[in-house]
Subunit: 280 residues, 2 copies
Amino acid sequence: MELQAYLAERIPLVDRQIDAALPSADEEPASLHGAMRHLLFPGGKRLRPAFAMAAAEAIGAPAEVALPAAVAVELVHTYSLIHDDLPCMDDDALRRGKPTVHVAYDEAVAVLAGDALLAAAFEVLAGAAKQAGAERAALAVGDVARAAGSRALVGGQVDDLSPTAQHDSAEGVESVHRRKSAALIAASIVAGARLGGADDALLERLERFGLEVGVAFQIADDVLDEDEEDACSLVRVLGRGGARARAEQLLEGALNQIAELGERAEPLRELARHAVRRDQ
Amino acid sequence: MELQAYLAERIPLVDRQIDAALPSADEEPASLHGAMRHLLFPGGKRLRPAFAMAAAEAIGAPAEVALPAAVAVELVHTYSLIHDDLPCMDDDALRRGKPTVHVAYDEAVAVLAGDALLAAAFEVLAGAAKQAGAERAALAVGDVARAAGSRALVGGQVDDLSPTAQHDSAEGVESVHRRKSAALIAASIVAGARLGGADDALLERLERFGLEVGVAFQIADDVLDEDEEDACSLVRVLGRGGARARAEQLLEGALNQIAELGERAEPLRELARHAVRRDQ
C-alpha cells in the first residue's frame, strides 16, 4: 500500500480540525493564541493523528470518527514539546528549524500556551460525544488523560531530565521511552479505535501494539541522534546495532498483536513500520 | 443555615477523593508526585469543590454525584496556582505560609506537576460517567476544559501579567477577573449541577450566577489586598468603597439568578455570600 497517498488524503482533515479547534492567531490575547499555533502551523508529521485515524480504519470505522482523538493527541504532543523546550527543561532555542515558543514569545506565554493546548485537547475530545456517542467520548478522555499524566508522559519527562542510574540499563531507558513517548502513541491508537467502536479485548491488543511501536519509534530516534552521549538513549546502552535490533524486535511483536485484523489494518501496520524504520 | 457545619460534612469527602485520585507521594518519580500534592495537603478552603457540591444539592441531587467535578476543579485550581507562582510569572516564593512548589522542588518539576494535575483533572471528570452517566460526564469535561482554556483561565492570566491600559478601566479589570477567576468558579457550579442532572436553562442561569459571584469574589480579593498598586485591581480604578459596592451589586445580581431555587439552594447562596463578604 502507498502510505504517502493514504496520509495525503487524511492529514488535511486533521489540519482543518486543529485550525477550527483553536482561536485565530489575532484573537486577544494575540500573543497567547499565536504561541498556541506556533508549532502547529506548519506542524510536524502528524504521526499521532495518523495513528488515531488508521486505528479506527483498522477496525472498519471511517477515519472521520477518530478525528477528535487525532486532534486531541496532536494538541497534547505539541503542548509537551513547548514545555520540554523551556529553559528549565531542555532549554532548546530551535525546533524544526524555527525558534521555540519561549524564544519567539516569552517564557510565561510558552508555559501558558502549553497549558491552554492541554485544556483544548480535552475540550475537543469531549466533543466526540456528538458523533461517536458520549460513552466512547468519556472513555477516550480517560485514555488520553492517563497518557498525559504523571504515570506516563509527565513522569517520563521527569525521569528523562533526571540524570539517574536507570539510564544505564535497557530497562531504565525503555521505561522512560514507554512513558514519555509510547504512552501517547498508544493512546492515539486506543482513543481512535475506541471512537470507532472497538471492544475492550481489541483495545487491549491495540494498546500493546501502540506501546511496542512507540518504544521502537523512540529507539529509532536514539539511533538517528548523532549525539551518543545523550543521557537517555538505548544506543548508549546497547550500541547502534543493538538498539536497531531491539527496535525491530519490538516492531515484530507489535505487528503480531494485530495480525488478525487483516487487510484494512494495513495502513496502521505501514505507519508502524515507517515510524520505526524512518532511518532506512 | 450553618455554613461551617455544611462544609465540615462535605470537604472531607473531597479530600479523600483527591487523595485517591493521585499517586502517593512516594511513588516514583517521587519528586513529581510529592510536588503534585504539595499545595493540596494541607490545601486551601476548597471553595470550588464546595460550590460544585452545593450546586448539585441546589437542584436536588446528592452532593456525592458532584464529587468528580469537585475534585477536578480543585486540581485545575491547584495547577494554576503552581504555574502562576513560577519565576517567569509572579515569581512567588511563598503561598499559604509555605514554600511554593518551584522553591520546594525545582522549576521543571513545578511546571510538570502543574501539567500532571491538569491531566488528572480530566481523568477524574471522565470517570464521572460511572455514576452520573457518560453524557453528563462528557459535557462536564467540556465545561471544565473551556474554563481552563485560552478564552478563560489561561487568557486571563496572560492579560493579568501584561501591564496594558485595560487595567485602568473597570471593564478591563473585570474582564481579567472574569476569565482568570470567575470562569473556573462558574465551571465548578455548572459541572456540579450538570452531573446532578440540571437542564440547559438552569445551567445557563447557574453559569451567570457563577460568573457574577466569581468576579465579586475576585474584587473582594482586591479589597483585602493591602497593596493598592497592584496592576489589575478594581480598588485602583474605583477606590476601596467603589470596589466594595460593585462586589455587592454583582452578588445581588447573582442571587437573583437563583432566587427560584428555594430552600435547598441556601448552601449555594451562603457560599456565595461568604466568598464575597469574607473581609467583613
